[in-house]
Homo-oligomer: 753 residues x 2
């Protein structure tokens, strides 16, 4: 890290410091308004009736008894949803076919998973709504269930969507299938490459469906007003994405939909698609334009929001004795759930991305099964993929007698290389991140003791730029009010405000950010893809430049000089021997209010790399894996607010650890989810985790971004399961080829070993 | 009115039409959120203890019993208000000395009027708060009371503010005085002018204190948050004015104050100054940062908000036989209430403004009396002034045997003339407005029948431009979201949105305006001075021009031509033989969100003139005046939304009629307000008024404004009392020289006549 004048790295005054987050006090005191806190006059409460079957034809729905219950104001079924065409929409990270989105909102002809919404009720209170839901009579014809992706690909497997026709390579086929997509990346001659190899390792892996596990369940309040305008208040990663979905699903003009994002208690990709919002809106209209609030229980969240795919992955890698990989091949089968849209595309992009390869083939399959429709989860599809590839890479290094970091250094991609999925890499800090672990005291200190092992693994993530709009106005006291549309999940109010403060040369505390809804700011893409600090930071820099231009004109007027003579640097305006700070200049007064807006769409967000090292101890009596030490190095470009970057890395590791060691959806043979509670769906708690040491590698600021920001929110969820598997191997001699590596499974593997 | 293509006047497509107001449905259905509708978690209720004396020294305040009452959370007195310096602040229309503003908020050493706030309480509910207020023990030393402005100017009168020192011409004097200011306008040689005159009329007039009479009482909710940030929600004409006052009164940085304006149920100038908001904030902080709601009762509104001044006015005018005025002189004594700040300055500017004068002298006095501190009321100070001058002008015309409209036409100011108070007049439509009445069927049809009379009078008002900031973003469907900071009292959401729609060439309904608070938009001056449709309209035009520039670039990209080749007119972009509408161009998609902001400060709002004609019948048995017909012509520049312009004129006339015929503050000798209810303070109701015919004179669009807008909200309150007095004279032979011209007073005058 280059240190310049005034003690701040790279000469920054604000970037790299750790101010208090603007929303901190309200979050700590409980003042912050989340969806469940919202109360409107005349509020009704909604409840969803969900399918008890994982796969069933809906023969009839009788809502009469529910409608007759006193206190019930409206009952809806799919018949209340407009019929929509097969319009494919891109919603930031998530791509959805509109008809599928509609049918996932309310099942029309078939229930495709346990918990699939069938009908919904609005009533004077939640108790009446719950009672009414039980009075709806649905006649089902249960159908055979398929839960496993590879089984669903077999001829004769139960078909979920009869209309789905896809051939081997994702084109329109002639027969019904559960394979919604097949993507492929090929380069060079794989078999020739393997022929050159001195060592070849091939393994198959299985991972289970896992959930994001955000604290705050899905919720939404809707008012379909008398004037036809639909108002939505909800917990979302993107108010504009909700607006677009509501507009499409309910066939309402964009201009007749207003979405106001409330505070958000975690999301991790799971709060991009709508679930309750369209139901609440329909209920509101049917209930005489009264507002309707809906909130999921935890069981509903687990059963019927969007977890990420379980998967089956085969990886084959070959290398020469010098460590150079000669060929690599991967096959990924991702379970999409009841409707198309697993993150297999991203998985296929991630799986071999850290390696410089002349010969490769990657095949990915998006396969329907009777599970909830997958949605995004932090670096969607990346963790399963890397789990497979990094275990094989580890085994390969071991077979070659090489240090696993050195093995990755030999094969590491760098600027100018082509990624496995095609694009050319810009300046990245992957090699520096590998070296950060190699030189870290953790890695340099040998691990001693029985049943202990150290594992390393690496991860790659694409990152994203996206569209952002912002506006700002300067107060008379020289502070700045900033209006942004990026919902703040992980501290982005601070990280965006800091970039504006840096651009203007004022203190972080002098920028007051406000996150607003769709009526009050220009279009913003979702907070996702690690884009917000990067992309909305890009926008506030443009905004700051505009404000500085206005300020230069003020200075020129003040000094009666030509505006071209006025220079600005670090918040100081100068011309000749005169100079004045931003705040002093504001204090001089402006005849016209100082305000500006900016909208940007940077295309080339720098991709991110992470290198993790973990020490574990495996209890030989129980198979329980205890994490002794965890160090996560990440290529972060420039850390705007280092505490939040560290927090992102620590949070991602915690989720990766849960995915690796304990979390899984458990179904019975009929497709009933058996562990739909946080007692049975076992996420890591504080005692399960050591302090996670986050190493911020800032050697490679992202080219093209004014401050070199690189998205940091996702990549560190990718290495943990692989790093843990590799550590468990060192500790026990066992290679775990399925997640989660829970005590019973580890015990079983040790016994079988 | 010039008619151009497509049938709209001046070629406008949107301007001049009458679309439904955007807030209409919510106002009609009760969905709109006013201050009294606001509920926050943990809300406390505040109540004010008010002085029972009109003038008294406060010897001691004992709050212990109130504090001990269960449910009471905080009690405050002036000791809780920061001591503030004598900083003079300009708040749009209203100018206030900060120390006086503080002492009007909570009396420090003396109570200066009946109802002056002494202390305030916050409690769990309003009943406990009311009970607690009664438990506060205040020891007063009653002082002699002065209620009349001219009496207060006499030597030996009770002095309200010992520190006030002003000499004859408003400079610092040596002796305590109640005369806070003396302003003077002089031109030519008045005595020489009168010497030339063939006829001279001199009369004295008295007008009483009157109130704006808005439906919605003052209210405010405040939260002084744990992080030091003060949030205010209130009914106000200007969120930024509230922010500034809160910042000054409570010594909080501007950046630590957020003001959110709620819907506003009338204001007319009375909702610029704060009353409850600072008390609620102080109570919130003292009560452990819980939000506090305060609402005035109607009695509190009448006793202790800001009515407009009672006054004494002497006018002397002389004219030649040909009708030409040779000299005019006016003396105005305005009652400021307990603190300086009557609208005498404006009254002095208005009183002779319609007349071209070579010789004039105007003297205005701002005088303290034991009444509530005056604040702005629709064309503040203008109505009293015109009442006096227009009655004298009428008498002069009568004495000369001239038609009163012809008399005004002979003496009318026009473009290039200097106003009585100095400034040069730009293009105005005064003569056209006089002619509109002269040629109107109402004026051309003789009035017949006993006890009937017709009166005319004219009025002038300054109008104002002011600062406005706006921002907007274009939705994917080609509609536009507009963010503005001008609170909408009389339909300005519509009139501003229409100007943006006109600029962009889209439909009025395609612009969706939102009024927001101080954090979400740049600085905006208050909605007052008839400035909003003019000034914020000016800003949205600038905004539309910016958006059109972005759209031109999009069109240039689309057609691969240079941006200079793209022209735009009426929402159609063209280059060569290609053309595309705004909406079509948006539908082509934009890589970057389309958003812009603008801030403007137009200086020369065109002044407004009104000419009114009224027919009355006076009941010889009771003195009751019945209005038979009322026609109000007004110089409106360009009527953006004619229905709202007509509504402004009709509302102004209604208020002027109330002022003229019935409204007055009635005090006993000790300064107790005797009629603090709407039963006893007699405002006109529907049966008191005929349909008021509003004639929109659009011959003189305001120069410098892109659409020629002229402020329309105020001037028509000025002529009614004079027009009525002149009509009563024709009906009865009596010249009424005091307002209100209530039945008992008219009866008394008829008997004495």
């Amino acid at each position: 890290m280059a240190m310049k004048e005034n003690g701040h790295k790279n000469g920054y005054r604000v970037i790299g410091t750790r101010p208090i987050r603007p929303d901190g006090v309200d979050k700590v005191t409980g003042r912050a308004v989340f969806g469940a806190d919202l109360h409107l006059p005349g509020l009704l409460y909604g409840k969803v009736l969900r399918s008890p079957h994982a796969h069933a034809r809906i023969l009839s729905i009788d809502t009469s008894a529910a409608e007759a219950l006193p206190g019930v104001k409206a009952v809806i079924t799919a018949a209340d949803l407009p019929q929509v065409a097969d319009k494919v929409k891109s919603l930031g990270e998530s791509v959805g076919n509109l008809r599928y989105m509609s049918e996932n909102t309310l099942a029309r002809e078939k229930a495709l998973y346990h918990g699939h919404p069938i009908a919904a009720v609005a009533a004077e209170n939640i108790h009446v709504a719950e009672e009414a839901v039980n009075l709806i009579e649905v006649e089902y014809e249960p159908l055979p269930v398929v839960l496993d992706g590879r089984e669903a690909m077999q001829p004769g497997a139960p078909i979920l969507i009869q209309g789905l026709r896809t051939d081997e390579l994702g084109k329109l086929g002639s027969e019904p299938t559960n394979v919604a997509a097949h993507i492929q990346h090929k380069r060079g001659d794989v078999e020739a490459g393997f022929a050159e190899a001195d060592v070849i390792i091939e393994r198959e892996f299985r991972t289970e469906t896992v959930h994001q596990g955000y604290i705050e369940p899905q919720n939404g309040v809707a008012l379909w007003n008398d004037d036809g305008h639909i108002h939505i208040w909800c917990s979302t990663q993107g108010a504009f994405a909700v607006r677009s979905q509501i507009s499409d699903l309910l066939r309402a003009p964009i201009s007749q939909v207003t979405v106001t994002p409330l505070e958000i208690g975690g999301a991790f990709g799971g709060k991009i698609n709508v679930y309750l919002e369209p139901l609440a809106a329909l209920l509101s209209r049917k209930a005489g334009h009264r507002p309707v609030k809906m909130t999921m229980t935890r069981a509903e969240v687990l059963k019927a929001s969007g977890p990420t795919s379980g998967s089956w992955i085969r990886v084959r890698m070959g290398a020469k004795k010098d460590g150079r990989i000669t060929a690599a091949q991967a096959e990924l089968v991702y379970e999409a759930g009841g409707f198309p849209g697993s993150p297999v595309g991203a998985g296929a992009g991630v799986i071999l991305a850290p390696y410089r390869l002349d010969n490769l083939q990657i095949d990915g399959y998006d396969v329907l099964v009777n599970r909830p429709k997958a949605s995004a989860y932090r670096a969607p599809g990346g963790t399963n993929a890397a789990y497979a590839a990094e275990a094989v890479a580890d085994e390969l290094a071991e077979a070659l007698g090489m240090d696993p970091i050195d093995f990755r250094l030999i094969n590491a991609v760098k600027e100018g290389d082509r990624r496995a999925d095609g694009p050319m890499l810009p300046r990245i800090g992957y090699i520096e991140t590998l070296q950060a672990i190699k030189n870290h005291p953790h890695y340099r200190q040998p691990l001693e003791g029985p049943h202990r092992g150290r594992g390393v693994a690496v991860g790659f993530w694409f990152n994203w730029g996206g569209k952002s709009s912002v506006s700002a106005s300067v107060n008379e006291d020289g502070t700045v009010n900033l209006v942004e549309g990026s919902t703040d999940i992980g501290g982005s109010r601070a990280s965006i405000a800091m970039q504006l403060a840096e651009t203007l040369g004022i203190a972080a505390e002098d920028v007051h950010p406000q996150v607003v809804g769709t009526d009050l700011v220009g279009y913003n893409d979702v907070t996702g893809g690690s884009r917000t600090t990067y992309g909305t930071g890009y926008a506030v820099h443009a905004l700051g430049v505009k404000l500085n231009e206005i300020m230069r004109e003020l200075a020129a007027d003040l000094w009666d000089v030509d505006v071209e003579e006025v220079r600005v640097e670090g918040g100081v305006f100068s011309a000749g021997d005169r100079s004045i700070t931003f705040k002093e200049l504001v204090a001089q007064g402006s005849d016209t209010p100082i305000t500006a807006s900016a909208a940007t769409h940077p295309k080339d967000a720098g991709p991110a790399f992470a290198v993790h090292c973990v020490d574990v101890e495996v209890d030989p009596e129980t198979g329980k894996v205890t994490i002794l030490r965890y160090t996560a190095a990440q290529d972060v470009g420039t850390a705007i607010h280092p505490s939040y970057v560290e927090g992102q890395i620590q949070g991602a590791v915690a989720q990766g650890v849960g995915w690796g060691l304990n979390e899984e959806y458990i179904y019975d043979e009929e497709g009933h989810l058996l562990n739909a509670s946080l007692l049975d769906y076992r996420m890591p708690t504080a005692p399960d985790l050591p302090m996670i040491d986050a190493v911020l590698v800032e050697e490679a600021p992202t080219p093209g971004h004014p401050f070199g920001v690189r998205g940091v929110g996702e990549v560190s969820i990718i290495p943990p399961p692989a790093a843990l598997a590799n550590a468990i191997h060192r500790a026990t001699g066992v290679r775990m080829t399925a997640l989660p590596m829970s005590p019973s499974r580890v015990m079983k593997a040790m016994i079988e070993h």
